[in-house]
């Protein structure tokens, strides 16, 4: 206390000054007033996630099935697609679809483009998840189905897939949450999701603390809820 250096005293004074100036560093009333707008944006974010995940699960299953195909063309095609989308950044894919699809004659809204990008990108990861699930089903189950004269398609649909899915629920859940946290990428193509809305509020009011904090909190709450739901499903569908 007695032998403080002058530089230390300088720092303390500076900190004190900042604290007085920004006494209300977080304005609760202002934050509260932003909530309706941000909750609207949250709906967009959640919708994009749900639709993107549905698309990713469908496409991922398709890649996984094609990769098991005995026809080299099918296998080669699926493998290339999966490798390509897994090895390039999501943001690049988002931009690419946004600027190139209209040139190719396909006009989609930014939201639709975003869902498509999320779905395709994550389908590449989900293909591997499905593969692991399918391989976890004992070979004897295929044989039992063969002995009962089931077609390949029915075997897959009724015997293999229902057993392959429960063990991969946790992995699917992880990717769902990862995709949810990747939705801010869609702000790059003007989708009015959470982050984009917060940035607009910031630009209009010159206050970024409240909107960005709320965005973080909303993401946290939804991620935690999703994780809970996934754990519940794991218990419900495991046998």
């Amino acid at each position: 206390m007695h032998f403080r250096s002058s530089s230390e005293i300088g720092t303390l004074c500076f900190l004190r000054e900042r604290l007085t100036v920004n006494e209300n560093i977080f304005d609760w009333a202002f934050a509260l007033s932003l909530l309706p707008k941000l909750l609207d944006a949250l709906i967009i974010t959640v919708t994009a996630t749900v639709m993107g995940m549905a698309l990713a699960m469908l496409l991922g299953l398709l890649w996984a099935v094609l990769k098991k195909s005995k026809q080299p063309v099918m296998y080669w095609m699926a493998t290339t697609i999966v490798e390509f989308f897994r090895s390039t950044p999501l943001l690049v894919q988002v931009y690419f679809l946004f600027y190139v699809l209209p040139d190719a004659g396909l006009r989609l809204t930014p939201f639709q483009t975003g869902v498509l990008a999320l779905g395709i990108h994550y389908s590449a990861y989900l293909a591997e998840v499905y593969r692991a699930g399918i391989e976890s089903v004992p070979k004897a189950q295929w044989e039992a189905a063969e002995a009962l004269n089931f077609s390949k398609g029915h075997t897959f649909k009724a015997i293999i897939l229902p057993q392959a899915l429960p063990p991969i629920i946790p992995a699917l859940g992880n990717y769902l949450i990862a995709m949810f946290k990747d939705t801010p990428m869609l702000s790059a193509i003007t989708v009015l999701e959470l982050l984009q809305t917060a940035k607009i509020i910031g630009a209009e009011t010159f206050r970024y603390t409240e909107p960005l904090t709320l965005v973080g909190i909303l993401f946290l709450i939804l991620s935690l809820i999703s994780a809970r739901m996934i754990r519940f499903m794991e218990k419900r569908y495991g046998y």
Binding site: E143, L148, N149, H154
Partner: protein, 263 residues
């Protein structure tokens, strides 16, 4: 005479060879089985008994030889690996004549007992749900498990699982039933309950039955003919009375001595 016996032969295997890499599992094997005959295959592990069943169930291919099931050619492959291949539809038609019960049951764990039994009749035989379920109840009755109709495989004992597996195979109305060491995964008491079901079944139906077993006493009671195999070849075959009481070959005698002393 030749034509008559020909028509009664439901399974014909001629000069069948099967190899896994360097390992020869079946060597120029000839087996003929008459319609409604009950045959037990015995022999030390690795003698190719299960492989025969898996070939007849179309789960395994062969390297050369001829296999005819109920008048339909499944394989006809010459030693230089040329020969006729069978279309998918033909395989499916042959498969419909054959049912198999596995050592490890292989029930579908995500389906109830009822659905395990009705799934194939509904989707493959195109029976109506009511028909399939009615029939399933009858087969469950036959194996003594009507009260487990809504249970799931995980809730059943090993013996019960195997009896459901038998009912499931029967529900497809196969002409030929294959039993692959179906009591090997069970303790003696549960094995006995499965064997009892099988004995009743053998008595009640004129289905052709082919079983691989290590239970000599059961083979003796169940079978019309015993085939003793070793290293992919038939050592000796004949009626249970002949094989168990008057074996001709020294190898048969020593095998039976070892096996019967152990039990």
């Amino acid at each position: 005479m030749a034509i008559e016996t020909q028509s009664n032969r439901i399974i014909q295997m001629q000069k069948v060879c099967k190899r896994y890499g360097a390992l020869t599992v079946l060597q120029n094997l000839d087996i003929d089985i008459e319609s409604s005959e009950k045959v037990a295959l015995i022999g030390p592990s690795g003698s190719g008994k299960s492989t025969i069943l898996r070939i007849l169930m179309t789960l395994e291919s062969i390297d050369s030889g001829r296999v005819v099931i109920d008048g339909e050619s499944l394989y006809d492959i010459h030693e230089d690996s040329t020969g006729s291949s069978v279309s998918k539809q033909q395989v499916s038609r042959i498969r419909a004549k054959v049912g198999m019960v596995f050592q490890s049951f292989n029930l579908f764990p995500h389906m109830s007992v009822l659905r395990n039994i009705t799934e194939a009749p509904i989707h493959v035989l195109k029976l109506s749900r009511e028909e399939a379920e009615q029939q399933a109840v009858e087969f469950l009755d036959l194996v003594g498990l009507q009260d487990k109709i809504n249970a799931y495989p995980a809730q059943l004992s090993g013996g019960q699982k195997q009896r459901v597996a038998i009912a499931r195979a029967l529900a497809m109305q196969p002409k030929i039933m294959l039993f692959d060491e179906i009591t090997s995964a069970l303790d003696p008491e549960l094995a006995a309950e499965v064997l009892l079901v099988l004995k009743n079944l053998a008595r009640k139906t004129d289905r052709t039955m082919l079983m691989v077993t290590h239970q000599m006493h059961f083979a003796q009671e169940f079978a019309d003919r015993i085939i003793f195999m070793e290293q992919g070849k038939i050592v000796e075959q004949g009626s249970p009375e002949k094989i168990f009481n008057h074996p001709q070959k020294e190898r048969t005698r020593s095998f039976l001595k070892t096996v019967l002393e152990a039990t």
